[in-house]
């Protein structure tokens, strides 16, 4: 009975995404020197024409008391170079993403807490634009730009329930499409379709304060966002907390924090990292550029012993 069940699972997960071979060799993290690692809430790689850049977010309290809070993005040596400072409506730990805008300059999307409803704002060096004007009073979390897409479409989670695809964020009352119910979602644009990765929440304790455990799924969408084929599990059986992904010639590259440590899957091969505290890794970010894979994460985020780590590997 048990053997039959295992065979059944193998047959179900035999799609391209799910063929996984785990290699024993581990990848070593390198500590990123940061001026104030304890203040860093999240990190993301930013690609573009230049060298990959690691961007970090932190919250700065103002002189106006506990309600006076600013979200600060920084990069460069020791992550000291301030890229953007955005006043927060309320003190919060916003979800955010960064991408290269049409002008080549970075553009950010982040949540702005209003007490009940989290608005979604798009900001570059010149302007701040609301993303969600077409959906007043709906609350959004976990925005992600669609990678490699023309324009800057993005996906965010509405009311802790559904993934919404905003096709032209920043355009007033711009079009959007509801994709599916999930906890988080990230899309990679290909020529005529999208690869959609999404996490479905599972029962169990969180990582950190609120990061829910879940299972990672993948499905292809056509240009009209219709699903093509069955969803698969790129990391079968893994309890996933957060993930990031990018595309390479050899296949999709996924970096995920899981219950057993951070995993990097390139094509069909998964490897883990050398981690002292694999249960305390958050904010994984991965970028494929210049024939290499750039990975980053935070260890013990928000504590006095926080450490920002990265790894650079050839494809």
């Amino acid at each position: 009975m048990r053997i039959a069940l295992v065979i059944g699972v193998c047959m179900l997960s035999s799609g391209g995404w799910a063929q996984t071979r785990v290699e024993d060799t581990k990848i070593a993290w390198i500590t990123v020197q940061a001026a104030d690692a304890a203040a860093v809430m999240a990190v993301r790689w930013l690609g573009g024409t230049g060298a990959p850049m690691l961007v970090a977010s932190a919250r700065r309290e103002g002189r106006g008391g506990p309600m006076d809070s600013t979200l600060v993005f920084s990069s460069g040596p020791a992550l000291r170079g301030e890229m953007l400072a955005a006043a927060q409506s309320l003190p919060s730990q916003p979800d955010w993403d960064v991408a290269v805008g049409a002008s080549g300059a970075p553009v950010f999307v982040y949540t702005d807490a209003g007490g009940a409803v989290n608005a979604l704002l798009l900001q570059d060096a010149r302007d701040v634009l609301p993303v969600t004007t077409g959906k007043p009073f709906e609350s959004f979390q976990r925005p992600r730009f669609v990678k490699h897409a023309a324009g800057r479409p993005l996906i965010a989670i509405q009311n802790e329930k559904s993934a919404i695809f905003f096709m032209t964020p920043g355009i007033e009352d711009g079009p959007y499409r509801t994709l599916l119910d999930c906890d988080t979602a990230l899309a990679l644009a290909r020529v005529d379709r999208y690869d959609l990765l999404y996490k479905m929440e599972k029962a169990g304790p969180p990582r950190g304060n609120l990061l829910a455990p879940g299972s990672l799924h993948a499905v292809e969408l056509d240009s009209e966002f219709r699903t093509l084929g069955m969803a698969t599990e790129p990391l079968p059986g893994a309890v996933v907390y957060q993930y990031d992904a990018d595309m390479a010639d050899v296949g999709t590259v996924i970096l995920a924090t899981t219950a057993i440590g951070t995993m990097l899957k390139v094509g069909h091969v998964a490897r883990t990292f050398t981690e002292l505290l694999p249960q305390e890794m958050t904010s994984p970010s991965v970028l494929v550029a210049r024939g290499r894979i750039y990975a980053a994460a935070i260890e013990r985020a928000g504590t006095s012993s926080a450490r920002i780590v990265m790894a650079e590997l050839p494809l």
Binding site: L90, N209, L210
Partner: protein
């Protein structure tokens, strides 16, 4: 003559011996097959031994799954003798005696499948009758069944049994639903076979909309609404614990708060599951509105609605620029006459007097851009603060807020003293029903 007398004497002795033997035999029969007290040391035959069994586990049926506050559904069997603790998600859960809480809809029978441990195997296969009895108030609930025990049996399971009486026809709960078990091997008489205890919750109707019956919601609502038999009774009663602002998470005994973190940015929970899962047990108003709505749904009541409110839905752009002041502020100079007159410098001319206490927190943020409350049966509840019910939007505004602030201005400016006549008659906010 002598042989005759001797013969008569022999017959008499034999008759006496026969009568004595018969009497002795009857006594043995009484001792062996009567209804004996527990522990009677009578053995009818040195080679014949009857079964002794004890309740080992219970699997309930017809009940609702109880979700352990996002750590997963409580497992079956719901009662298992050797279990000292329940571990879910790698953590020990605070349950009474390591057994699982049970949930049934009111007026239903209790069904379960019992399994018994064979502590003494019989010398030959025999049928053992089993029975259980439980009391719920004045109601006596009985179950009956049987198991076949062979000399090699170590564990035996009876068929699913249904109680001959139903649970009370009202909401209720008990910390120890105690069931006393008895066994009767081969008609030898009834002996005790152990006792089981589970927490048991009785809900008004079947949990609705596929929402899991989180343990905390069951516990809070069933205790508060005990003896209620109607929707309206439950709706009114379950608000009591929120009004008292003393909700405790069942799985770990941690008190749940409204913005109860320092600094505020650590409060991120925006839904019931997030609040129940969060390590710091602190939630925003969305989580508290959902807690109340989900408590209704645990009892099958689905007509509650989440209301979002902000200064303007029509001009919604992000979070807007106008926030509202949560009570209590004092405007030190003559008040503004319209909602758009920003006449008072915040904290200097418009002074925070005392914060309205939220759930387990006397120090929540003093203003917000938007807020979630709950509407049901034509009244509003504000579960974040445990206030209400309010009969109208105006009633909520006058009880909950003191004015508006322009967040673009530096310093920030406030206006429109809500408590100043005639301002209480003007509604400042837009109320929007959120589709679930």
């Amino acid at each position: 003559m002598g042989p005759l007398i001797a013969g008569i004497a022999l017959v008499v002795v034999a008759a006496i011996a026969l009568v004595a033997a018969l009497v002795s035999s009857r006594d043995d029969a009484n001792n062996s097959f009567g209804s004996n007290p527990v522990g009677s040391p009578v053995t009818p035959c040195p080679n014949l031994r009857h079964a002794v069994i004890q309740i080992e586990k219970l699997v309930f049926a017809g009940n609702h799954i109880v979700e352990c506050d996002t750590y997963g559904a409580f497992p079956q069997p719901e009662w298992w003798r050797p279990r000292a603790t329940i571990t879910l998600g790698g953590r020990d859960i605070l349950t009474a005696m390591g057994q699982c809480p049970i949930c049934y809809t009111r007026g239903r029978p209790v069904r379960f499948t019992p399994t018994f441990r064979v502590t003494t195997a019989p010398t030959q296969t025999e049928v053992v009758q089993v029975r259980a009895v439980a009391m719920w108030g004045s109601v006596v609930m009985n179950w009956q069944g049987s198991v076949t025990v062979s000399p090699s049996s170590t564990e035996v399971t009876a068929s699913e049994a249904t109680s001959d009486a139903t649970l009370p026809d009202h909401v209720d709960c008990t910390d120890a639903f105690e069931t006393s078990w008895g066994m009767n091997p081969a008609g030898q008489g009834w002996n005790a076979a152990g006792t089981t205890r589970n927490m048991l919750y009785v809900v008004l109707g079947d949990p609705a909309n596929g929402r899991p019956a989180f343990w905390t919601l069951l516990d809070v609502s069933c205790r508060a609404a005990a003896a209620q038999t109607t929707d309206t009774g439950v709706i009114a009663a379950v608000y009591g614990p929120l009004r008292n602002r003393e909700i405790t998470r069942k799985r770990d005994g941690v008190g749940l708060t409204y913005w109860g973190t320092t600094p505020y940015d650590l409060t991120g929970a925006m839904s019931t599951p997030m609040l129940l899962r969060s390590e710091n047990a602190s939630g925003q108003c969305g989580s508290w509105a959902n807690v109340l709505l989900d408590m209704y749904q645990v009892h099958g009541i689905t007509r509650g609605r989440k209301i979002a409110l902000a200064r303007s839905a029509q001009y919604w752009r992000g979070n807007g620029t106008v926030a509202f002041l949560v009570k209590s502020w004092r405007f030190n100079t003559p008040p503004a006459s319209s909602p758009s007159d920003w006449t008072h410098e915040l904290y200097r001319q418009c002074v925070l007097v005392q914060k309205a206490p939220g759930q387990r927190n006397t120090n929540p943020p003093e203003w917000f851009w938007n807020h979630y409350i709950v509407w049901i049966d034509s009244v509003y509840y504000d579960p974040s603060y445990g206030s209400g019910p309010f009969n109208s939007q105006g009633d909520w505004e006058n009880a909950s807020m003191d004015g508006l602030i322009d967040t673009r201005a530096r310093p920030m400016m406030g206006g429109f003293d809500k408590s100043r006549t005639p301002n209480p008659t003007t509604n400042l906010m837009d109320f929007v029903t959120i589709a679930e």
